[in-house]
């Protein structure tokens, strides 16, 4: 009941006119960003980090959360009408949604996706309300060794679960950790990697790293390979669903969140895996097997619902443990740091207004998004016609504004460009960007927690594993590390026995 009361208080915060305005702005921006090619929610939140200098935390986070959820809604529009999904989470929407649009059922596909997002987001957020305070209570006594363990988990998870190559993931993480080292050591004031430069002594601001890697790197990379003829979106009318379609989709909408939410909460790459899992589940359970591959509406409804629910799951680990499981969560974590707020179990005690206002605003945002997306989908689809030079010039422009706003220093713009070029090289050679961003954001914090923990234990390494919490987290981390090796071992053993049987 306690969570329910807190949530009601949260609605009190979220429904004030100013915060409603931020929520509306967030979902508008989010939908636009989701529809626009080449710009994802992580880049959008990174580009908006400078507003944290002038805005109350609650307003900023309500807007960021609106962008996150809104981009999910908008992303499926692009997939369905254009068949070139930009975000991994939207790949599945194209598989059945685009054939539907080609067959003249685009309106139904868009409706199935929008209501799916609404259902998934709603159920996911209810689960967030139910679970987050419990998780926070369980973890409330955690200290330096536990925080360090969580950060190690985050490092290992982003490098070994995401992307196709662990080596490249680790390389990216180390680049991020190195960038995080630049500046004065927080505990002793020792200069590190500053080369005597006063500017570098302040360290490289997280905003500059995030904007450089996500925005400048992406814009330059697209510029190098810009498609000469952008795809033509399929024209579509107002989304609606007939009774037959509703009969086919309502179960998929309800099943999606069950898959999406848990996968969002663990560091497993955000919405990518759960949308595929949901797709496979729906296909197996479908009574209309012939439709699959040619536009089965369940294949749009289920995965889209799973995608939005995974966003809610992501917020559980971010708010209760400070563990970012997706790029958007990582950038939001950077925003928390800008405000000097440490997300984690104590967040619910120290900043109840902020957390519950944010959670309540998710419900508000969801309703706004449904209202925005169902009747207005054809209008949003027009955004796909934006001339690409304007789009990428705009990204560069806002990146420059953001970096300059950090401290009003021209040198920051130069650093931004250098980091953008690093981001360009990383995209060229398949180094994932997320580990680097996580390294910069969590690296300095992890070092501090490590040193604090070792100070308490007087240098004994056992001080890092003397709580049940940290032991649990390290066990999970070890499992993540061993998992692929185990898989390899199993295939090798089975192959070996098979080989022997043949011989």
């Amino acid at each position: 009941m306690n969570a329910f009361n807190s949530l009601m208080d949260g609605f009190g915060t979220a429904l004030t006119p100013v915060n409603l305005l931020w929520a509306a702005l967030g979902v508008l921006l989010g939908t636009a960003i989701g529809v626009l090619p080449g710009i994802g929610p992580a880049m959008a939140v990174a580009l908006l980090l400078p507003v944290t200098y002038g805005l109350e935390p609650i307003g900023a986070f309500i807007m960021f959360a609106g962008i996150y959820y809104g981009a999910m809604f908008g992303g499926s529009t692009t997939s369905i009408l254009l068949n070139t999904p930009g975000e991994s989470a939207a790949v599945v929407a194209a598989m059945e949604g685009n054939p539907m649009a080609k067959a003249g059922r685009g309106a139904q596909a868009l409706a199935a996706a929008a209501i799916g997002h609404f259902a998934g987001g709603l159920i996911g957020t209810v689960l967030l309300v139910a679970l987050a305070p419990t998780v926070a209570d369980l973890a409330v006594d955690i200290g330096a060794p536990d925080y360090f363990a969580i950060m190690v988990l985050a490092f290992i998870a982003v490098t070994s679960v995401l992307g196709s190559s662990r080596i490249r993931g680790l390389a990216s993480l180390l680049i991020g950790l190195t960038l995080g080292l630049v500046g004065l050591d927080q505990m002793t004031g020792q200069q590190r990697l500053t080369f005597g430069s006063l500017q570098l002594a302040d360290g490289i601001d997280v905003v500059i790293v995030a904007v450089g890697l996500f925005a400048i790197g992406e814009a330059l990379w697209v510029a190098a390979h810009l498609r000469r003829l952008p795809g033509e979106p399929i024209p579509v009318g107002r989304p609606w669903l007939g009774r037959d379609d509703l009969k086919r989709t309502w179960k998929s909408w309800l099943r999606g969140p069950l898959i999406g939410f848990p996968f969002g909460a663990i560091p497993a790459g955000g919405a990518e895996i759960p949308t595929f899992l949901s797709y496979a589940t729906e296909k197996r359970l479908s009574k209309h097997k012939d439709d699959w591959g040619r536009g089965a509406i369940e294949g749009v409804a289920g995965p889209e619902s799973a995608a939005s629910a995974s966003a809610a799951g992501t917020l559980v680990s971010m708010l209760t443990l400070g563990l970012p499981t997706t790029a958007v969560a990582a950038v939001m974590l950077a925003a928390f740091q800008q405000y000097g707020i440490q997300p984690g179990p104590l967040l619910f005690e120290r900043e109840p207004d902020l957390v519950w206002g944010l959670i309540a605003s998710l419900f508000v945002g969801m309703v706004l998004l449904l209202a925005l997306n169902l009747p207005l989908a054809p209008v949003w689809a027009k955004l796909l016609r934006i001339p690409r030079p304007y789009l990428y010039a705009g990204i560069l422009f806002f990146a420059a504004v953001g970096a300059y706003a950090v401290g009003g220093e021209v040198i920051d713009l130069v650093i931004l460009l250098i980091i953008g070029l690093i981001g360009f090289g990383m995209r060229r050679y398949g180094l994932p960007v997320l580990p680097a961003v996580i390294g910069v954001i969590l690296g300095p914090n992890a070092e501090q927690q490590l040193r604090r923990a070792l100070q308490i234990s007087d240098g004994s390494v056992s001080g890092l594993v003397d709580t049940p919490f940290s032991v649990t987290v390290y066990t999970v981390t070890a499992l993540l590390l061993i998992w692929p090796l185990l898989g390899k071992l199993v295939t090798r053993v089975t192959r070996g026995t098979r080989g022997r049987a043949k011989a």
Binding site: V51, S165, I167, P389, A405, L417
Partner: protein, 179 residues
Amino acid sequence: MTTRTTDVPPTPGDPRRSWLREHSELGVCVMLLALGVLVLTDALTMDVEITQRGPVGPKTVPVVVGIGLLVIAALLAVDVLRGGRGEAEGGEDIDLSEPADWRTVSLLAGVFLGAAVLIEPLGFPIAGALLFWGAAFTLGSRRFDRDPLIAAVLSLVTYAVFNNLLGVPLPGGPLMGVL
């Protein structure tokens, strides 16, 4: 990042050059190696006796990161020589079937640097508008009636929002002095 690292199909007749082109990812290893050496040198030349507090000083983590960079550089080199390749990232507007357009990328970087230099003497509204127009031009937009107008409006509105609404000061430059 030179033109040699592009994905141009290898020209026959020069095996060494085409080998380098094929294995351009080794450049990443070299960068990681250099970064590792840099981090280690910086860490080991640190003068920490006075400032050490607690059993772990400011050196430890940089040393670990530096060694990590060296190890990863070696592992990546092995992977590349064995035929492993990082996958170039795809996207809605990205066409990977064509070779990289280095001219556009370097021009864009140049426009960006130019705007960075101009931001203080000319002020944000002018430098920002030049950045947008220059970038749009570089990316292929040739609407001389529309492009400068959009650039000017975008830059002025952004200036007003940041400077007046959000309270983040941006340099106005001579233009704002006149208005």
